[in-house]
Amino acid sequence: MKNSMELEIPGGHIELPHLPPIEVAGVTFDLSISKHVFFLLLAALVVTIVAVYAARKNQKNKVPSGFANLVEIFVLFIRDEVALPTMGKGGIKYLPFLLTTFFFILVMNLAGLVPYGATSTSNVSVTAGLAFVAFIMIQVTAIRAQGLKHYLAHLTGGVHWALWPIMIPVEILGLFTKPFALCMRLFANMTGGHIVLLALVGLILLFQSAAVAPLSILFGVGINMLELFVALLQAYIFTMLTALFMGFGMQPEHGDEHAEGAR
């Protein structure tokens, strides 16, 4: 569950290569391919293969079928239930970003459920990276839709200038809380499932008895199924909320920025 520098394989483990850390502006970047980086790249590869395959197949076949149809259902869902209701017609432009977010997170979430796999999204650095991209996208959409002047004016909350010293920090803080929530929600949900599993297996050690094992396994299977659902749900929620925040930026008059779907 923890990030490590070795890849577990049946009957042993592979040491992953260490890269020398790079120091830029006082921050040390350790770009070594750790387990989470490995599964991150694997997820990216899987998403690429799946999506390109689906696109190729759908271009060839007039009537969708099989696996390509399954991918298409998700694409349609993101378009019709996520992008269009939150952003309207203008959201079509940002669909590639939303689709990538959804599928990438989904595959990373699911990777942890495969034996010997690991969930990259249960690492707070990974979710922070995703939230960072989401943050940039939310600001870019807002600036593109409203213009920079309007965008900056929005930061004052539309109150008297005397209140600006209070309002501006609050609004700026508001900008950061959204992606921070995105980051923590995904990380916590993906980690939470693993911890419950660990606790269930830990019961065997706690009671020092193999008699607890069937119960642990039974509950473990249940939690695994729940995790399957949560993997899908969290990918959806991350995408949905990103789209929602982008939509707020595009239509400032709707302005109910603090409405936020909980898990």
């Binding site: 989470h36 999506a51 390109v52 759908n58 079509i92 669909l95 590639p96």
Partner: protein, 161 residues
């Protein structure tokens, strides 16, 4: 667990950005285009079907109307024909009857004329015979003129037949 690993963040961001760029070009845009095209196709097909259906309904209505009209026309023609035939028959019968009447009349008149002529003839003959007979009986030549008048008067006094 909460310590942020900047290297991992960089990996995530870089991978994600590359993924967005690659996928939007090779997967999402073609896929969305196909979806859009299919939806447009379906919409068009539905509209076309709707149009065709309404056209067919119009056509059926028109047909029905035409049929009703034709039926009415045909009924009217039959009725008219019947009326005409009746009238014609009537006329012919009347005409024939009149013709017959006329012919009968003519024949009757002719017969009457013949009877009259015959009667006249008879009358003259009878008068002559009477005069001759009277002459023979009286053995005297009577003034023919005078006696003819006498006989005529006598004859006129006779019953007509």
């Amino acid at each position: 667990m909460f310590d942020i690993n900047p290297g991992l963040m960089v990996w995530t961001i870089a991978t994600f950005v590359v993924l967005v760029l690659v996928l939007s070009k090779y997967a999402w845009k073609p896929l969305l285009k196909v979806l859009q095209e299919r939806e447009d196709g379906i919409r068009q097909a539905l509209e076309q079907a709707d149009r065709a259906r309404s056209e067919a309904a119009d056509l059926a209505k028109q047909n029905e109307k035409n049929l009703a009209q034709a039926e009415e026309e045909y009924q009217r023609i039959i009725r008219e024909g019947k009326t005409l035939a009746d009238k014609l028959r009537e006329e012919i019968v009347v005409k024939a009857r009149q013709q017959a009447q006329r012919e009968i009349q003519q024949v009757k008149e002719e017969i009457q004329r013949d009877i009259d002529a015959a009667r006249q003839q008879l009358r003259v003959e009878v008068a002559d015979l009477a005069i001759q007979a009277a002459g023979k009986i009286l053995d005297e030549t009577l003034d023919a003129q005078k006696h003819r008048k006498l006989v005529d008067n006598f004859l006129n006094q006779l019953p007509k037949n």
